[in-house]
């Protein structure tokens, strides 16, 4: 009979058939009956509402925390065990669906945080003179194209080595790890950028891989991430030295802007020029100040004494003239007094009279008093005895 086998032959034949038909399968379902044996082997079922598949894997292969109820996508090889039990030997497992991704993320984040993997003290800064950069991304991805476009527009002189890897899916973490190892072991780049544009939580879940997060944290060369959008935060972001919100933002962080540099350049030159002009102004002020001091010196030493001496002379002349005038004025006053005393009217007022005409008996003479004029005839004339 053609279909007659020993149990071993039967199992070998089925496995051969399975390997031929389904060398590797991907199954999506919910985790159930999760358990770890001897700290090495992991057993669990992946089920949906109607069926369940037994799964087996090593603890080493588990890259994320698993627990019952989580939705996962597994990649594995279907096999019949020697006990005739069907099982899937799992190569990779990752969470699917927002709830499971979030749960796995939080569990692993807490674990790695406790180990100090995300500590700020571990973070290194971007080299100031970046001339050699390693990039890990998918060269066909829009995020990668944006990154290259922006660094080319902003700056130059950087040798960029690009490691083309998958940036989503179950194989992505291992490929990225291999690229990280390559740069750390075989290149002289100063910084590594891990880039991936926006996507769904499922698309980005490969960046929550435990081994990848550890590899990033252990990298000898500083790592910058530009994964997803501003709101997306992965474990790889947390483990990296610098986190950019997007690939474009990573390009901006890594490079200076040549337009800004040019503007800065001439702004600085302008400021320097101003400094020189200011200094010239200051020097002029110093000279003016010196001139002022000299002129003040000349004034004090020569001009002011001269003015002072002339002033004294003028004062003396003025005093002389003034005295002369006063003296003249006094003389004049005396003369006026004398003249006043000789005034005939004044004499008449005192009771005297003026006699005009020939003094001889019988002549008529004119007698003038203060208030009268009198014509009188002379009766006789005789001499007075003194």
């Amino acid at each position: 009979m053609n279909n007659s086998f020993t149990p071993s032959e039967f199992i070998a034949t089925v496995n051969q058939t399975l390997e031929y038909a389904y060398s590797e399968v991907v199954i999506e379902g919910e985790v159930a009956s999760f358990k770890v044996n001897q700290g090495k082997w992991i057993f669990f079922d992946v089920k949906d509402a109607e069926a369940s598949v037994s799964c087996f894997m090593t603890l080493y292969q588990l890259r994320m925390p698993l627990e019952d109820g989580m939705k996962v996508m597994i990649k594995g090889i279907p096999k019949l065990t020697k006990w005739g039990k069907f099982s899937l030997t799992v190569n990779a497992v990752r969470p699917v669906g927002e709830g499971s991704i979030k749960k796995a993320f939080e569990m692993l984040k807490n674990k790695l945080q406790k180990e100090g993997l995300f500590d700020a003290s571990r973070k290194r800064s971007i080299p100031g003179d970046l001339t050699k950069l390693g990039v890990i991304s998918s060269t066909g991805a829009a995020g990668y194209a944006d990154f290259i476009k922006i660094i080319n527009a902003r700056w130059g002189g950087i040798r960029v080595q690009v490691a083309h890897t998958q940036v989503q899916g179950v194989d992505a973490p291992d490929q990225i790890i291999r690229a990280l190892k390559y740069f750390n072991e075989k290149s002289d780049v100063q910084m590594i950028a891990i880039l991936r544009g926006g996507g769904s939580a499922d698309d980005l879940s490969c960046f929550n891989d435990e081994m990848l997060a550890r590899e990033v944290a252990a990298s000898r060369i500083p790592v910058i991430t530009g994964i997803g959008h501003e709101i997306d935060e992965s474990l790889v972001d947390l483990a990296a030295d610098v986190r950019a919100s997007t690939p474009s933002n990573a390009a901006e962080i890594l490079t200076k802007d040549r337009r800004e540099e040019k503007e800065k350049l001439w702004r600085n030159m302008k400021v320097v020029k101003q400094a020189i002009l200011q200094e010239i102004d200051n020097a002029s002020f110093v000279n003016v100040d010196k001139c002022e001091k000299i002129s003040r010196g000349l004034m004090t030493k020569y001009i002011e004494p001269m003015i002072s001496e002339n002033k004294n002379k003028m004062m003396r002349i003025y005093e002389r003239v003034k005295n002369g005038i006063n003296l003249g004025r006094e003389n004049l006053k005396q003369k006026i007094i004398m003249l006043e005393a000789l005034n005939p009217e004044k004499v008449l007022k005192q009771g005297y009279a003026i006699l005009n005409g020939k003094i001889s008996p019988g002549n008529v003479v004119k007698i003038t008093t203060f208030d009268q004029e009198i014509n009188a005839e002379i009766k006789n004339v005789r001499l007075r005895n003194k």
Partner: protein
Amino acid sequence: MTEKMSLNQKIENLDKKAEWFYSDDFNLEEAVSNYKDAVKLAKEIEKDLDNLKNEIEVLAEDFSKK
């Protein structure tokens, strides 16, 4: 001399030259020639900035292989 320098070295050099103008060493006698040197270097940097290109190399390594 500056032709052998990298762009960043030239920028650092220019920054140092600019610092001199604010230092105690500043004097008017040297200022004009130092300013001319700085402007010359600034023009050189501007030219370098315009001509700078990045070199992009996609590695031949296949990272999908284990």
